[in-house]
């Protein structure tokens, strides 16, 4: 199983095109969105400046892009080509496959998070305590695993041409509902209640708590861990079941 994890990580690193765009995309979005805005005034009731709030949003958004959309498409392609059928004929357990896919996704997200942080600090003058930088990096990185697991599950639930639209709908739906694009404080109250239980909202919430210097909310943590278990469980189950029919 360790060999599979190492191999999945290695081949992701070898895929230079994928790495390049995964790194570039969030940082470009961040710089574009924050370009025309007065960046030091607080946004809504978040007590956070625009530059700071969007740093976490875009780092999270970028992390989700590569692990959710990238993962699901790559996996669906592997299924179509029959590699996962071959893998099913080994003694590899379902959770081994899911773990390897999450690990290979995590290799991409860490640098993409760091690039957004670096440009926020350099271009937008964002300043934080050392512990905050470290905690933010760790939280956003670890949190991206939830969406990597979701990506694996989508890659298994959908086939062929359906994968991209489904991944995109889930991805934009989660990003918008989670307040990664516009702060969820602007949502009507009924939507706010729903948004509170969306994994992206909990994900961004953890980051924002660290930016404010608060202890991250226990509720957000529980929500994220819950989603991780559900997504990873579904992915492992779909992996085991898949080849019976495809």
């Amino acid at each position: 199983m360790n060999t599979l994890i190492k191999l999945e990580v290695a081949r992701t690193l070898r895929n230079k095109k994928f790495m390049f765009f995964s790194l570039l995309y969030p940082v470009l979005l961040y710089l574009m969105i924050s370009a025309g805005v007065k960046t030091d005034s607080p946004v809504g009731d978040t007590k956070l400046s625009f530059a700071l709030l969007y740093m976490v949003s875009m780092a999270s958004f970028g992390a989700i892009t590569s692990v959710l959309v990238g993962n699901s498409e790559r996996i669906a392609k592997e299924r179509e080509k029959g590699w996962t059928r071959q893998l099913r004929l080994t003694a590899l357990p379902g959770h081994g496959y899911v773990l390897a896919k999450i690990a290979s996704a995590a290799v991409v997200t860490l640098p993409s998070i760091l690039v957004v942080f670096a440009s926020a600090a350099a271009v937008k003058g964002v300043r934080l305590e050392t512990w905050q930088w470290l905690a933010l990096t760790g939280t956003i990185w670890a949190g991206s695993c939830v969406f990597a697991a979701l990506g694996v599950a989508i890659g298994y639930a959908a086939t062929g041409d359906a994968v991209r639209p489904i991944a995109m709908i889930v991805y934009f739906g989660l990003s918008i509902l989670g307040g990664l694009w516009f702060p969820s404080t602007r949502f009507p109250s009924w939507l706010k209640h729903i948004a509170e239980y969306v994994p992206t909202h909990a994900y961004a919430g953890l980051g924002q708590a660290i930016e404010r210097g608060d202890t991250p909310g226990g509720k957000d943590l529980v929500i994220l861990v819950g989603y991780l278990l559900i997504f990873a469980g579904a992915a492992a189950w779909l992996y085991r079941r898949d080849t019976h029919k495809s």
Binding site: T3, L7, R85
Partner: protein
Amino acid sequence: MTTTASTFTGDERRTGGAPVVSFANVNKSYGAVQAVADLNIELHPGETVALLGPNGAGKSSTLDLLLGLRNPDSGTVRLFGTTPQRAIEQGKVGAMLQSGSLMEEVRVREIIKLACDLHPRAYPVEQVLEQAGITEIADRLVNKLSGGQEQRVRFAMATAGANELIVLDEPTTGMDVTSRQQFWGAMRRQADEGRAILFATHYLEEADAIADRVIVLHRGRVLADGSAAEIKARAGARKISFDLDGELPEAELRQLPALAGLSMAGRTVRIQSHDPDATVHAVYRLGLYPRNLEVAGLGLEQAFIAITDAATAEEGGAR
């Protein structure tokens, strides 16, 4: 590498041991298409068995069921007395699929190391590379290989550990003649170590040369099951051909003994006969002087066509 003929006969190999594979009344349909119909097959340790049939005969479906990649609608599939999945987890089965592509962006050695690490009873990586004849291409990227090289990598994956059954779905597709011979040479060494081998093919000469037992599938059913010689015998006839001068005495030719088929083209007469000695004797007794006389057994290919045609005709008649 040369291929040395194996001297095992079907009967020697069939003696002793619990069944490696057993299909009991297995059915599988996809919508209205019945891919596998009431299949009953038993394979025994050490047998080399060819699963022969035209495209759409149910070969791949049978192998998918055998490997637990699909579940039967009814009936049971057992490998070594347990479920296919358990048998695979125990490292008893190695398989080379027709459609299974390989992981991309990795090197040959890496993918073989993966197969070895995942196998509960693995061989050393270098040994697996050597046996499959891919040591020289071990550092190449898997997605840069030729079709034949890719097949050998798949074969290496299927033989990464001490399997007791090796399953191959059309393994030599895309290989040139030399690679094919090397491949079957490697396969024979596996068989000589006492492994059961089951391969699907539509190359009849492969089934004839390699398998000590041939199972002919047609429309999801077993049409014939025996040695290649038995199958040829079952098709019955041998073929006789000769040329005659002058008008062909058709009425008299039709009266020949042991006749199973007669066709005439120009001055050439082609006969299928259950007893060629008697038929040829009768030709001379008619006072004819056949030139360019040839008597030959039906190849497995013709036997195969004869058997499947007969089955199709029967089905048609029953409707």
